[in-house]
Amino acid sequence: MTEKTEYRGSIHQRQKDLMLAWYEKLDRAANTGDPPTVSMMISGNCVELLEGFGAVPIYPEVNALQLAIRHQSLDPILAAEELGYAADNCAYVKADIGCMLKGITPTGGKLPTPTLILCNFVGCNTYLKWFEHTAKITGAPLYVIDIPFMRTDEPMKADVEYVVRQLHETVQKLEQLTGREFDFERFRQAVDCSRRTEDLWSQIKHLARSRPSPFDAYFDAITLMGPLYVHRAKPEGVEFFEAALAELKAKRDAGQGVYEKEHYRLVMEGPPPYPYFRTFRDMFAKWQACAVASTYSTVGGLWEFGFRHDPDKPFESVALHMLEQNVTNRNYLQRYEQIRRYVEEWNADGIIIHFVKSCRLFSAGQGDMRDYFTKQLGIPTLYIESDLEDPRYFSEAQIRTRIDAFFESLEHSKATAHWT
């Protein structure tokens, strides 16, 4: 029983076109110096601010994952290791540094030296070193926005003020570096575009509550995530997500799921193993198991529970997004709560935790997370280990055995549920 079902609607082509147009802009910037570019981390990015300068974001993580999914990540990783990076350093970092050294890009075009390296590190303090190294290699200026980690349920007022103050400093910095005056109205409009995109994206996420879900909220959601980071604050982002919502809504209304029959509904925690993306997806397709929610799809922003950027408070809402509304800056209890809500409100049968070997920062504690869900809440939870970027950590036979055994066990408990 092998089922290889993958949804290929018009949104996939639109997504490709949008991402290609972005890479072409970066290539142009590399050749002509225009438009200005800013390197950022995906999680907690402030792409809206860049719009006030007509600047384009560079996301090293997107470049790294594009390489991995095209099976091209090992060479740059090895190049970085030759330089002295350790085996257990973040593989995204190594792939990115290796690419810089070897001049590799996922599309073959050029990547520009950023006008500014803006280290908006949230949760991931590896980013500090990553961007320091990038600055050293490229010679680009580095500015760090210090985002305090979530220590309370809501961000503290002082934290919001602290981040807003730094955003204003970033504006000054960018004015100096680009020679352009900050266009506040354009920034406000960008924040409004984000609000609309987020509303559409949230509606898409909620479609997965239907049975069957019209799309896989892990594997298919990844297709939608590129435009979310790059085009969120632009009219073309709004248009893209309008089209995506219409297409998926039509599927939902027609009762079309990802599989002929949706056997299992899952919540996924952690990023996918990009070097084996297809193999990994097929392991779930075999069991007709559909992800109805995923934490990875909230790395760039968490909107399905109501948060939106606010054009009436543009700086404050950007600060709130950076502080609280992305998965990596949230503490473990908030992460537990997010997953628990997914299981309950999206009606999932179980949870899959994918531990990333080269990301101790985000993965440490997932063993306890598994214990919490299995022992305290009684939710079947599978824990598997590999890597998001480094193909050497993926042991296919071992992962397949774990996944098959998990579904065999679910099959058993589903079938016998009426006895107990």
Binding site: G367, S395, A397, D404, T416
Partner: protein, 279 residues
């Protein structure tokens, strides 16, 4: 009478079991071969040997379930079930009170929580390296120049087991060489080796709720030193079946019998309550 087989293609050895459901479930034959480089051939050899042992033709076997890491390579098998489900099924069949299975094989170890009808409630596996597995013991035996069958009994003679700091299958060799150079006794070194694995395995198993009764399955269950070390660290008795090594193949054969009487099929489970007088 239905006759079915289970073939467990492990990393080191391949096991086969033939079962009949005539007059209660009965094991007709068992076989064991080294897996070697050709996984497909190993499965064939184990199955042919088992049929010969049972005095029957391969065509007499109504259904074959493959398990173990090489389960998808068994060309003649009808379907595949993971070794995790098979060990749980086999162990609980032989001893209905079993609730925890510790399976230690050549290259991996697992702990499995088992429900009252042999279903897997939860499981954990070792990391993908061979730390804490049969391979670790095999390396230790080789470095010390002692047969694999002898290291368990010898380890029981340890009076002052050494501390083995590493659980790395490769680095353990240098640890052992250094103890040998210090003039430590062989039994004390082996006592330390067994304890190191036992501690690692128990810490893995404790991620589950370890409920009694506990059994150990897989090839390493034949090593009495390992069983005693696990009992010591776990603080409770471990039941060992004479068929511990064949547990995966036995569980697979039980699934195969269930397939024949249509009480079980992954995807269309009908339950095996018929075998147990209903619920």
């Amino acid at each position: 009478m239905r006759i079915a087989a289970g073939v467990d293609v492990g990393s080191t050895q391949t096991k086969a079991v033939i079962l009949s459901d005539d007059d209660g479930m009965k094991i007709l034959a068992r076989s064991l071969v080294d897996t070697g480089a050709n996984v497909q051939k190993a499965a064939e050899r184990a199955f042919d040997k088992c049929c010969a042992e049972a005095g029957m033709q391969t065509a007499d076997v109504g259904y074959i379930v493959g398990t173990g890491y090489g389960r998808y390579k068994i060309a003649f098998g009808n379907t595949q079930v993971t070794e995790i489900s098979c060990h749980a099924k086999g162990a609980q069949f032989l001893s209905p009170a079993i609730r925890t299975v510790i399976d230690m094989g050549g290259q991996d170890s697992k702990a499995i929580s088992v429900g009252p009808i042999g279903e897997v409630l939860d499981f954990v596996m070792n990391d993908k390296c061979a730390a804490g597995t049969g391979r670790f013991l095999a390396n230790a035996a080789e470095v010390m120049g002692i047969g694999l069958d002898e290291i368990g009994p010898l380890s029981l003679k340890a009076t002052r087991p050494v501390k083995i700091a590493t659980v790395c299958t490769v680095f353990v060799e240098s640890d052992i060489l250094s103890y040998l150079a210090q003039g430590k006794k062989g039994e004390d070194i082996l006592g330390g080796v067994h304890l190191a694995i036992a501690k690692r395995t128990v810490s893995l198993a404790r991620r589950l709720n370890i409920e009694p009764e506990v059994t150990m399955t897989g090839g390493v269950a034949r090593n009495i030193g390992m069983v005693r070390a696990l009992e010591e660290v776990l603080g409770r008795k471990i039941e060992i079946s004479p068929d511990a090594h064949f547990m995966g193949a036995l569980g697979a054969a039980l699934f195969a019998i269930n397939k024949l009487d249509q009480s079980f099929e992954f995807g269309t489970w009908k339950g095996d309550h018929a075998n147990r007088g209903g619920h």
